[in-house]
């Protein structure tokens, strides 16, 4: 049905020939855009409903005094569904640590929350298929667990800013939403999010349809292609200071994949951009001493590089 609509618009209304490159590209663009926006609306709405059942106050209760490994895995999973914005990172961190969530478990949450979310899932699913989407989610979880366990093992508690453990966190009962409010919240959330990310999504889809085949790819392939063993760490090093949400990275991901870069290199880049960034470092400096901050970034970056190599090796 979507295909018929795209055919009708491009070959009927606009009158382009189906054999022409431009016609095909435009057809592909319209078809993909509609498909992805329908997927995005449905999935974001559903996830928002699930999210309203897991406010951070509840997540904290679930994770409090959990053992390592199990706790880290749970934290990674909860990171996917708990609403998170980098501006909440500091109160969240203090609240978790203060209520007995182990430091390593807290870090697993901090890694997975920005990196794995429904937008990344839908876009990867719509543009590259379910295999890539599943790989991104599962290895994202692995990165968050490995990083959290490592920091837990290193006994880094003394490198948390001193005031964190002294801060008294008040007890609060925030009014629960009823069903109607949850639906309204999910609707508003979906609308706001789509409003924010639609340009990136369209550019991402457009890059796949139009630029493919027009830009000489020799240059990138020569320096970042399968032949270069350092492509993955270089991609991660470039990605770490950059900041963007998952949607914002999609145009670049599309372009790099279109140019034939190996999938591990590209996904490692995407993870590095979303999970670590310079602004996040500035925010976390409020709760972490510089040494732990550097160790945290180092461990996560190394884990992402490892995942990148793994992808390149098995796919």
């Amino acid at each position: 049905m979507l295909k018929d609509f795209a055919d009708y618009v491009v070959y009927g209304l606009i009158g382009l020939k189906p054999e022409a490159h431009l016609g095909q590209a435009l057809n592909f663009f319209i078809y993909d855009s509609i498909k992805i926006f329908i997927l995005l609306s449905v999935i974001i709405f559903l996830v928002a409903i699930v999210r309203s059942h897991f406010p951070p106050e509840r997540t904290r209760r679930i994770l409090s005094h959990k053992r390592e490994y199990i706790g880290n895995g749970l934290a990674g999973l909860l990171g996917i569904v708990t609403p998170f914005c980098s501006c909440s990172a500091v109160p969240l961190f203090i609240g978790f640590v203060e209520s007995g969530v182990p430091l390593g478990v807290t870090f697993s949450f901090l890694v997975s929350s920005p990196m794995i979310n429904e937008v990344a899932l839908v876009l990867l699913l719509g543009l590259f298929g379910w295999r890539v989407a599943l790989l991104y989610i599962s290895t994202g979880l692995v990165v968050s667990v490995i990083s959290g366990v490592a920091i837990g093992k290193l006994k880094m508690e003394r490198f948390v800013q001193d005031y964190v453990y002294q801060t008294k966190v008040g007890n609060v009962e925030i009014a629960r939403q009823n069903f109607r409010e949850k639906i309204e919240y999910a609707r508003d959330y979906t609308r706001d999010l789509l409003k924010r990310i639609w340009p990136y999504v369209l550019i991402g889809i457009g890059v796949g349809g139009f630029i493919h085949g027009y830009v000489p790819s020799d240059f990138l392939i020569k320096y970042a292609g399968p032949g270069n063993p350092f492509a993955v760490p270089v991609a991660v090093l470039i990605g770490v200071p950059l900041y963007s949400n998952a949607a914002g990275t999609i145009p670049i991901v599309q372009a790099l994949m279109g140019k034939g870069l190996p999938i591990g290199t590209v996904l490692a880049f995407m993870m590095a951009v979303t999970a670590l960034s310079f602004p996040e470092a500035v925010i976390l400096k409020n709760v972490l001493k510089i040494r732990l901050l550097l160790i945290f970034f180092g461990i996560v970056a190394v884990a992402i590089v490892g995942v990148g190599y793994l992808f390149n090796a098995i796919l």
Binding site: P55, P56, E57, R60, P83, F84, C85, S86, C87, S88, V90, P91, L92, I94, G95, F96, E98, Y163, T167, K168, V169, G170, N171, V172, I174, A175, Y185, I283, N286
Partner: protein
Amino acid sequence: MKIEVLGMGCANCNKLYRNALDAVKMSGKEIEVTKVEDIKKIMNYGVLSTPALVIDGVVKVAGKVPKAEDIREWIKQQGGNAA
């Protein structure tokens, strides 16, 4: 009545602050709206996600930006209780 906006100065915190000011204007009352940016004070309220809105010491919402109309409703309710 006193309205406090909790948050360390992110974009959403500023949006909530503006909405709160709008709500006060709509209500026609003289209410002081202050920003609370000190993390220790924010934690004393027990919220884990910002921005949060506090009216007379009661946390009304945390982790999202309510509309000015919603805030005006809360002001009305709270005002009714006090009278």
